[in-house]
């Protein structure tokens, strides 16, 4: 019962297509886990099920011993189950500072006040500055997001997630679209997170996976086909089979 987070038999199909097949997985506090798998394996769907954007056909999501399966996305975020999006979802007209400020205000329960200036709170402003600094967004802090580079938008996704002070953080391909010169930013930001937090990273960049993860889970066609230390994943016959051509590419990167 020392799990911080656990899913039991999570199942989802779209029409006749089974995208999640009885996925069971547990994460302990402090866990750093990589979820990998070929395109279309159902990784993003898994994140959607866990964070409440989608309802499973069967199975449970348990956080801190509490069954949160019936809760909506908002309540799960408030309980500390936080995700980033594989394809950036940001407000094109707002600046990075506004995004992060809004998130911090929301976390503090102050985002719905109709009096008081948006940028007026000093403690909030300091926290926002700090987060923007960690992700290297200070220079672009006051530019509308629509005008900044996609790689920086990806970093802002992470800044928003961190601003929510999650207990379980699910990162859906955080480095996709980030220039390789900037990926250390992501690692630095993750390194600063409290040790108690559990992080699951979906990632195709095997370099990053090997540096980040203590444990790798491989998903193929909606089912978990491998769980184990990063060093063993490449040798596993089923994993090789699942990836076929895809995996050869991934290997070359690593």
């Amino acid at each position: 019962m020392s799990d911080l987070f656990r899913v039991d038999g999570l199942t989802k199909s779209f029409g006749g297509l089974a995208v999640s097949r009885a996925i069971s997985l547990a994460m302990a506090p402090g866990e750093r886990l990589a979820l990998i798998g070929p395109n279309g394996a159902g990784k993003t769907t898994f994140v959607n099920l866990v964070t409440g954007q989608l309802r499973p056909n069967a199975g449970r999501v348990v956080l801190n011993g509490e069954d949160v399966t019936s809760l909506g996305a908002v309540r799960r975020v408030r309980k500390g189950l936080v995700r980033t999006f594989q394809v950036t979802r940001l407000f094109a007209e707002m600046t990075p500072r506004e995004h992060v400020t809004l998130t911090v205000l929301q976390r503090e329960g102050k985002a719905t006040g109709i009096i008081g200036r948006f940028l007026g709170n000093h403690t909030v402003a300091e926290e926002v500055d700090d987060l923007l600094d960690v992700l290297g967004l200070v220079e672009k802090a006051d530019r509308p997001v629509g005008e900044i580079a996609y790689g920086q938008q990806r970093l802002l996704e992470i800044a928003i997630a961190l601003a929510l002070k999650p207990q379980v953080l699910l990162l859906d391909e955080p480095a996709a679209g980030v220039p390789s010169s900037e990926t250390p930013r992501i690692e630095q930001a993750l390194a600063r997170l409290p040790a108690s937090l559990a992080v699951m990273m979906i990632e195709h960049d095997m370099d990053l996976v090997f540096r980040f993860a203590r444990r790798v889970v491989v998903l193929a066609a909606g089912a978990i086909i491998f769980q184990g230390p990063p060093a063993e994943v490449a040798a596993d016959a089923r994993v090789r089979e699942a990836y076929l051509g895809n995996y050869a590419n991934a290997r070359r990167v690593a």
């Binding site: 964070t51 954007q53 909506g72 996305a73 908002v74 975020v77 408030r78 936080v82 995700r83 999006f85 979802r89 940001l90 407000f91 094109a92 007209e93 707002m94 500072r97 506004e98 400020t101 809004l102 998130t103 205000l105 929301q106 976390r107 102050k110 985002a111 719905t112 006040g113 109709i114 009096i115 008081g116 200036r117 948006f118 940028l119 007026g120 402003a125 300091e126 500055d129 700090d130 923007l132 600094d133 200070v138 802090a141 006051d142 530019r143 509308p144 629509g146 005008e147 928003i160 929510l164």
Partner: protein, 337 residues
């Protein structure tokens, strides 16, 4: 480590400072334009008061459409709720104190806004728009049907209102009504600038752009929009109340699809999501209507249509955005080609 943080905290106030200045300038501009109207068109104060009442309606529409992304073709429901509530209170209830009547209008509008929001937010997109039309049509039919209370198509006449503050009578030339309306507009506008610049206002802008993102930030979407509907209802209700008090009659046109549609046209004309656009759009549309319909009573709508097409093609962000770009004072938001 401290270096960038210092740069940033120095940057934050400089960014919000011009906004604050801009709002003072905006309020001053309303006052100047209002005073100019008073001196230049002393014989048209009734029309100018009508423009103010409609401006409140268009402002209220901007709150839900421009800030929350909920389009409505039934916004006059909330205007009509305010107008009829004032009419009932005055004619049937014997309430004659003008500020009390304004309060009644605001509360009635806010209540109607709560109900309308709760209904409209059950649907999305086109269905939502159709729902808004259905609601205003129902309101219109109800007002038409209960002749005993509303006067039906003859309108609810005979509002007699006490002097403002017990001193200023609502005179035949409409001076008191106009100046009162102008003061009301300035106060409402200033309060709304506070609302839209608040955390709540920014959250609403987020809801308009991507509700899924807002939820992933841990904020509920429905109550936020509903709250804006209530504020919007209060503002529209004040507009209806002003119209009722200044004309001393409440007609079926105050709760009509036509007024609702015109309000949306005025908003698009001026530009969404700035509050300034709502005012500019209203003044230009109504002035245009007044002038062109005097010249050619049959084709003025054609002219308005042509004007709208021109604006949408040349300045998709509305006239305010165009002026901002030309004068270089606009926000960088509309910088896409």
């Amino acid at each position: 480590m401290t270096q960038p943080a210092m740069d940033v905290s120095a940057g934050a106030p400089t960014r919000s400072y011009p906004l604050y200045l801009r709002d003072i300038a905006g309020v001053a501009a309303i006052l100047v334009a209002g005073a100019a109207g008073y001196w230049l068109f002393p014989d048209n104060l009734a029309l100018l008061t009508r423009i103010i009442a409609v401006a409140l309606l268009v402002l209220s529409l901007d709150l839900i459409t421009g800030y929350c992304g909920v389009a409505s073709l039934g916004q006059a429901t909330l205007f009509g709720a305010g107008a009829y509530a004032v009419g009932f209170a005055c004619v049937h209830g014997g309430v004659t104190e003008p500020l009390t009547l304004m309060l009644i209008g605001a509360v009635a509008g806010a209540t109607a806004g709560l109900a309308m929001g709760a209904i409209m937010l059950r649907a999305h997109g086109l269905a939502q728009l159709v729902l808004s039309i259905a609601i205003v049509q129902l309101g219109h039919e109800a007002a038409n049907k209960f002749t005993g209370y509303t006067g039906g198509s003859d309108g609810l006449a005979g509002l007699s209102v006490n002097p403002l503050f017990g001193v200023f009578e609502f005179d035949l030339w409409g001076r008191t009504a106009y100046l009162f309306g102008l003061a009301l507009l300035v106060v409402v506008f200033a309060l709304l600038r506070v609302v839209v610049s608040s955390p709540f206002g920014v959250l609403c802008r987020g809801v308009r752009q991507d509700p899924v993102r807002v939820k992933a930030m841990g904020a509920f979407v429905f109550p936020v929009i509903l709250k804006m509907f209530v504020i919007s209802g209060a503002v529209a209700g004040l507009g209806g109340a002003l119209a009722a008090i200044s004309t001393q009659v409440v007609g079926l046109d105050s709760i009509s699809f036509e007024l609702s549609a015109n309000a949306l046209v005025m908003l698009v004309l001026g530009g969404l999501g700035t509050l300034y656009g709502a005012l500019v759009g209203t003044v230009i549309f109504m002035a245009f209507e007044h002038v062109v319909s005097a010249i050619n009573p049959f084709h003025w709508l054609t002219m308005v249509g042509a004007l709208l097409v021109a604006v949408v093609l040349v300045a998709p962000g509305g006239l305010v955005n165009l002026a901002g770009k030309v004068g270089g004072i606009g926000r960088s938001k509309g910088s896409k080609p």
